[in-house]
């Protein structure tokens, strides 16, 4: 698939041409959404909203950047807006919501199913780490998810989040520190 050609056709207002793009980026984008939201329904909503935004803003896409980077930046902005709205509605605490408890159980179940050779302790620990990442504030969470789960480099993350590389580094350092402290408290 020639991605540039497909995007050119999308620019002509033919929305059906988005299908190859949706198909190509379905897996990485959904995974990113799930890691951010920690809830399947929220992840599906975020996934669809990201594509709708991408369709309406396709003329703003700069082909000097990767399409994936642009798509992830839309998802991140949408997630940030949702997170802020949720925080305004539930200012007392987002960390111990039902969704988080549910996702913790879901994560544990998924880990048990998909990695039969890992030991129980390792799986438990991974689930805890995942849950703790889900409890980080959105700006630290996005950096951790992009760096560790999506395996993006610092420069690419800075493009996705539209922040300087130095800020990415400091957020990553701080987020790691937070995770380590929480892990030490648990272990």
């Amino acid at each position: 698939m020639d991605e540039k050609l497909v995007i050119k056709q999308c620019l002509n207002g033919r929305n059906e041409y988005f299908e190859p793009l949706v198909s190509k980026y379905e897996q990485p984008l959904y995974r990113y959404c799930l890691h951010l939201c920690n809830d399947r329904n929220d992840a599906m909503d975020l996934f669809q909203e990201t594509w709708l935004k991408a369709v309406s803003k396709i003329h703003r896409y700069d082909d000097n950047h990767l399409f994936k980077t642009w798509l992830f930046s839309i998802a991140t902005n949408e997630y940030r807006d949702r997170y802020r709205r949720a925080m305004r509605r539930r200012p007392y605490n987002l960390f111990f919501s039902n969704a988080d408890d549910k996702s913790l159980v879901m994560n544990r179940m998924e880990s048990t199913e998909k990695q039969p050779d890992a030991t129980l302790e390792e799986k438990e620990f991974q689930s805890l780490v995942k849950a703790e990442v889900g409890r980080l504030k959105w700006d630290y969470r996005t950096v951790v998810v992009l760096h560790y789960f999506e395996e993006m480099g610092l420069r690419e993350i800075s493009t996705v989040l539209n922040i300087p590389v130095g800020t990415v580094k400091s957020r990553l350092y701080y987020a790691r520190g937070l995770l380590k402290t929480r892990m030490e408290m648990i272990l």
Binding site: L11, N12, G13, N15, E16, F18, E19, V22, S23, E26, Q27, Y30, R31, L34, R40, M44, F47, Q48, W51, L52, V55, S56, H59, E110, S111, K114, Q115, A118, E122, F125, Q126, L128, V129, K130, V133, V144, Y148, F149, E150, E151, R176, L179, K180, M183, E184, L187
Partner: protein
């Protein structure tokens, strides 16, 4: 301390390796949403508003200029002018919505360095 660091990195890497299945039908549902008329109008709306706003401004300047130069106008004339103005506005909105693809391409070509 170093042990904790390694354990955390290993756990994060292990989470990254986990296989996540995309829910069945998500792509189809997304494509249906993308192709729905609501999405099309959402796409054209900012252009339509911007275009009509610009044309309105132009018409107002020309009209205002002419009226200022001629003479003070009566209430009846104001009503006639208002009706024509509203009709032109509705016409512009309809034309812009119908031709949104052309307008979008035109603006896109302009943003990429001229027509």
């Amino acid at each position: 301390m170093k042990d904790h660091d390694d354990t955390l990195t290993n756990a994060l890497n292990a989470v990254a390796r986990e296989k996540i299945m995309v829910p069945d039908g998500l792509r189809e549902k997304t494509m249906n949403l993308i192709q729905s008329p609501a999405t099309q109008s959402r796409r054209v709306f900012p252009y339509a508003v911007a275009m009509v706003f610009m044309i309105n401004m132009l018409i107002s300047i020309i009209f205002g200029g002419i009226l200022f130069l001629i003479r003070p106008i009566t209430l009846f004339e104001w009503i006639i002018i208002g009706s024509v103005y509203s009709t032109v506005n509705v016409f512009l909105y309809v034309v812009t919505f119908i031709n949104y693809e052309k307008i979008q391409n035109m603006l896109h070509a302009y943003s990429k360095g001229g027509f």
